[in-house]
């Protein structure tokens, strides 16, 4: 059993974007705060901090979750992926390229959460229909685009991901 008192600072070991990380923080911090404030990964955004907008979505063990409602403490030993870990070196992920090219980002503030959520969609469904894309992104509010160019971007990226896949991705 793990036990932390409110006065402690906790030291946590986890993997962030594929790299092992140790970070100390106050135990009442959410993953959102730990990422932005203790790991300087400010690509993860916040629009409400109450689970009402989706801007802070990240992947924890490949599951899309809201970092604003996830305790940092709960991430011991987990693998966290943020927008900073989506590109491969300087090569954009097809989702990133498509968001940039096809109008998927206007102000860009919802983009991180959108892209992480769409990544999770591809894991489960490499060939989503437009309706399926809309469903998958229904927990991410965008105030700029009306979603249409976001759906365009995810659709276009899915085609590229499928083409580039060296072997059929293993069933999960």
């Amino acid at each position: 059993m793990t036990e932390w008192s409110a006065a402690d600072r906790v030291l946590l070991h986890l993997s962030v974007n594929g790299e092992p990380v140790s970070v100390a923080f106050a135990p009442n911090k959410t993953l959102l705060e730990v990422l932005r404030e203790d790991l300087q990964l400010t690509g993860t955004k916040h629009g409400c901090e109450l689970g009402e907008c989706g801007a802070c979505a990240v992947l924890v063990d490949d599951v899309p979750v809201l970092s604003c409602l996830t305790l940092g403490l709960a991430c011991e030993g987990k693998s966290v992926r943020t927008i900073e870990g989506v590109a491969e070196g300087s090569r954009l992920h097809p989702l990133q390229a498509a968001f940039a090219d096809l109008g998927g980002s206007q102000c860009g503030y919802c983009t991180s959460g959108m892209i992480l959520t769409a990544l999770a969609l591809f894991e489960h469904n490499p060939s989503p229909t437009r309706d399926e894309i809309r469903e998958a992104l229904s927990g991410n509010i965008c105030r700029c685009t009306g979603y249409q160019q976001i759906v365009d971007a995810v659709e276009a990226a899915s085609a590229i991901v499928r083409q580039n896949a060296p072997t059929p991705s293993p069933a999960r």
């Binding site: 629009g47 860009g108 105030r143 160019q149």
Partner: protein, 819 residues
């Protein structure tokens, strides 16, 4: 040059800031972290209206980790976005005017400590009577929310008349009289406002903020802090959405700037979502009454419009908003005689201001719904009616607005064809319907918000031997793509790639003034300034290349990163060599360009609101399905055509159209900045009903239909490469098109926004009871209007001046009632 096909303009391209946004690299204001940075929180009023008796801050000041507590005493100078409404203080010195009005700022080592210390500040209030709504505001002279304004709680009264309204109404075959109500709503930009302020090494103040208007913030800071503007640097961080909600100078911006000055440490504040709802400056709730006279063929003889705006607690842009409710009725359809009377009142709610479409969507809703009724009565197809009465290109309207190009007829034809409107309207069977509406909007306000004769936008270019070009402009990127427009215009003129141009924007130390990202002005104004700057740079390079190659400058072409002889394309040099040649010949290479809108022909008081270099036009058809038992509304499809003049980057242009439709559908169907008044016998409370993203309903990806967008391109001579605005206009026709579609589907008229299932059920019940099937306001109150400014329209020999302006400015006794 004009003959050549464009190599950048008009082609779909990755936006210049697209990569940074898709990788999380864009640094919004809250992403900024600085050494020694402190954090601030505002203590806000829990009362809607009260006098501050005392503020005791000592307990907060001595709380561990607290560095500073500021109150109204520390920031005594008022400010406001409009010169006529300098009614705000960063921290309320003596009166709080709505729940959320800030009274103190706490600066501490972290946010949690600052929040805890806010709880330790003791504020004693003496409650004052709550002015909850316009009805209260019109009836209650005392207490006054502000000591200025027309009288009591009436902030602004406007009245203007263009031609003999009574005669023109008498000349009509039919006069239609309708009352409408448009509920307030807010921007809900996804980024919560944030500001970081610090002193640079030289001791000068730097304020980096999520602002759409760094220039106006710069002026407000100079005033409120009483330090010279040249010692303040304002940086507009990329905005995570604006929509008008980051256009005012805000309390938090000024208060943290003050804190940084006092402490000489960086201070950051980031508002919570709830606090963003209190900043508001969103759409005014507007009650309006339209009287429209028409001939049997649909020709309008006169429009007589009254509007009543619930302004909330402060002036903000409200005086302009008031005029905007009456400004643009005339640029869409030909209105030979026009009267407009507008009234804005103060209430104890978060202040209203400019939201996408600023002041015009409300009356657009009324006008377009009324036209639908007129078409039905006259047995005309609603599209045909509109095509008959469109204003003409180059017309000077009754209220002296100069129209340039109008692509609205083409817009109407396109949406009618795409939606098969002619064969489906009124023929879709119960529960399904189509509605059509049109609109127009400014491509930039013709006048600045403070009087001056300087340019509205300026661009500076720096070229050097690297072959790179840096474009400097004060415009702020709020997501609309202004950096992309700047780069595209410069790259196009110089014949280089957008990737060769770096945009430096929204920084008052580095960039020449642009007034800000509001009124859909940036593409047209900054674009024209950028073209001028780039053409001047091109001339400098051409002179050097001409001498070096011995080719007349007039024959030189700039394209494909080269400068060459049009008659012998092999004779030329790279763009980089051209810059080197110019630098060698005449020293450092730079240029400037500016844009000032043409002078307005409206010279009467209030005529400053409405003029624009040119207007955009939009037509939309909305399809709805309405369940007759529950009133549930679905919008399966929207067709929209926008007269954009020229799409500089069609991907971004389409995104602006679709985004406008999105925001419009939210307003049409569900968004409400609603308040809750507790029973007055028990409580003074007047609170925002649900200041959260959960209960303020913004459409999700599932609620948003597919939108079929058409861009109508007929280049307008006033715009850069012919471009007009696209960021706001396409919002306007959607709300009335939804209302008209609901009528087509189930035969009820909803004269209110938002259009909800409850309202439809209520109207259907009326209809079933043999009544008209109407939901909306019952009446418009009697307002004691001042004598109208009388401005004869151009066709009656008018010169744009009021014939009674001087008389009206004297106390005439015909103004507002006094007690």
């Amino acid at each position: 040059m004009n003959e050549r096909t464009h190599s950048v303009i008009g082609l779909p391209r990755r936006r210049v800031d697209g990569r940074a946004k898709a990788t999380g690299q864009t640094r919004y204001a809250d992403d900024i972290v600085m050494p020694r940075m402190l954090f601030a929180k505002l203590l806000r009023s829990p009362l809607p209206h009260a006098r501050i008796v005392s503020i005791e801050t000592s307990r907060a000041e001595s709380h561990g980790g607290v560095h500073l507590v500021l109150t109204g005493r520390d920031l005594p100078i008022s400010y406001g976005i409009l010169p006529v409404s300098q009614d705000e203080h960063a921290l309320c010195p003596d009166t709080v005017r709505f729940v959320g009005d800030p009274v103190a700022l706490v600066v501490a080592r972290d946010e949690a400590t600052a929040s805890d210390a806010c709880e330790l500040i003791d504020v004693r209030y003496e409650p004052r009577r709550t002015i909850a709504d316009p009805e209260d505001a019109l009836a209650i002279e005392e207490p006054r929310i502000h000591a200025y304004g027309e009288h009591g709680n009436v902030h602004k009264l406007a009245a203007m008349q263009f031609g003999d309204i009574d005669a023109a109404m008498a000349d009509a075959d039919e006069v239609f009289e309708d009352v409408f109500f448009y509920e307030g709503n807010t921007h809900l930009a996804l980024e919560q406002h944030a500001t970081v302020a610090w002193l640079d090494g030289d001791g000068k103040l730097v304020v980096c903020s999520s602002t759409q208007t760094p220039h106006y913030l710069h002026r407000a800071l100079a005033k409120a802090l009483a330090i010279p503007a040249q010692h303040i640097r304002v940086i507009a961080a990329p905005n995570g959405g604006g929509f008008g909600g980051k256009s005012d100078p805000f309390n938090h911006e000024i208060a943290v700037a003050k804190a940084a000055l006092v402490l000489d440490r960086p201070v950051k504040i980031t508002l919570t979502r709830e606090e963003v709802f209190y900043c508001h400056r969103g759409r005014h709730p507007v009650l309006m009454k339209f009287r429209t006279g028409v001939k049997r063929d649909g020709t309008i003889t006169a429009v007589d419009l009254q509007t009543l705006l619930d302004g909330g607690a402060y002036g903000s842009y409200g005086v302009a908003s008031t005029f905007y409710t009456g400004a643009l009725q005339t640029v869409t359809y030909h209105v030979p005689t026009y009267r407009f009377r507008g009234c804005r009142v103060f209430t104890n709610k978060a202040p209203c201001g400019p939201k996408r479409g600023h002041g015009t969507p409300q009356s657009r809703f009324g006008q377009e719904v009324q036209l639908d009724k007129i078409a039905e009565r006259l047995r005309l197809n609603p599209a045909e009616l509109r095509l008959r009465i469109l204003e003409h290109p180059d017309a000077l309207t009754a209220n002296f607005l100069r129209v340039r190009t109008i692509g609205l007829a083409e817009c109407i034809r396109r949406v009618v064809a795409a939606s098969e409107f002619d064969t489906r309207h009124r023929r879709m069977g119960r529960g399904r319907g189509l509605g059509l509406a049109c609109s127009s909007y400014l491509s930039g306000a013709g006048l600045p918000i403070y009087w001056n004769e300087m340019p509205h936008s300026s661009v500076q270019l720096k070229l050097d031997r690297s072959g790179g070009v840096t474009a400097f402009c004060g415009a702020s990127e709020i997501g609309q793509g202004s950096d992309d427009v700047l780069v595209a215009c410069v790259a196009e003129v110089l014949g280089i790639e957008p990737f060769d141009v770096r945009a430096v924007t929204g920084d008052t130390d580095l960039t020449p003034v642009d007034l800000g990202s509001y009124s859909s002005r940036v593409t047209l104004m900054m674009g024209n300034a950028a073209i001028q700057a780039a053409e001047r740079a091109r001339d400098i390079l051409a002179a050097a290349v001409s001498r070096k190659l011995d080719v007349p400058a007039s024959r030189l072409v700039f394209a494909e990163r080269r400068v060459f002889d049009s008659e012998n394309p092999d004779q030329g040099m790279t763009f980089r060599d051209a810059v080197c040649a110019a630098e060698a010949m005449s020293g450092a290479v730079g240029s400037v360009g500016s844009y000032t809108p043409p002078k307005s022909e409206a010279r009467f008081k209030g005529g400053g609101v409405g003029p624009s270099p040119t207007y955009s036009y939009t037509a939309a058809v909305v399809e709805v399905e309405v369940d007759e038992s529950t009133g549930w509304i679905s919008v399966p499809r929207v067709w929209v055509a926008h007269d954009i003049g020229r799409a500089l980057n069609p991907v971004l242009a389409r995104g602006q159209v679709e985004g406008s439709v999105y925001m419009a559908l939210g307003e049409a169907l569900m968004e409400e900045q609603a308040y809750r008044r507790l029973p007055p016998r028990l409580s003074n409370a007047l609170v925002h009903k649900f200041p959260s993203m959960l209960e303020y309903k913004s459409l999700t990806s599932l609620d948003m239909p597919e939108v079929f967008t058409e861009l109508v391109e007929d280049p307008d001579p006033a715009g850069p490469f012919g471009a007009k605005e696209v960021g706001q206009g396409p919002l306007l026709p959607i709300m009335p098109a939804v209302a008209n579609a609901v009528y087509d589907a189930v035969g009820v008229r909803v004269h209110e926004v938002p259009i909800t299932p409850e309202k439809i059920v209520k109207a259907l019940a009326e209809l079933a009871g043999g009544k008209p099937g109407y939901v909306g306001p019952a009446s418009f109150p009697d307002i004691a209007w001042p004598e109208a400014l009388m401005v004869p329209p151009p066709w009656e020999g008018g010169t744009g001046q009021a014939t009674n302006q001087r008389q009206r400015e004297k106390p005439s006794g015909a103004g507002a009632p006094r007690r």
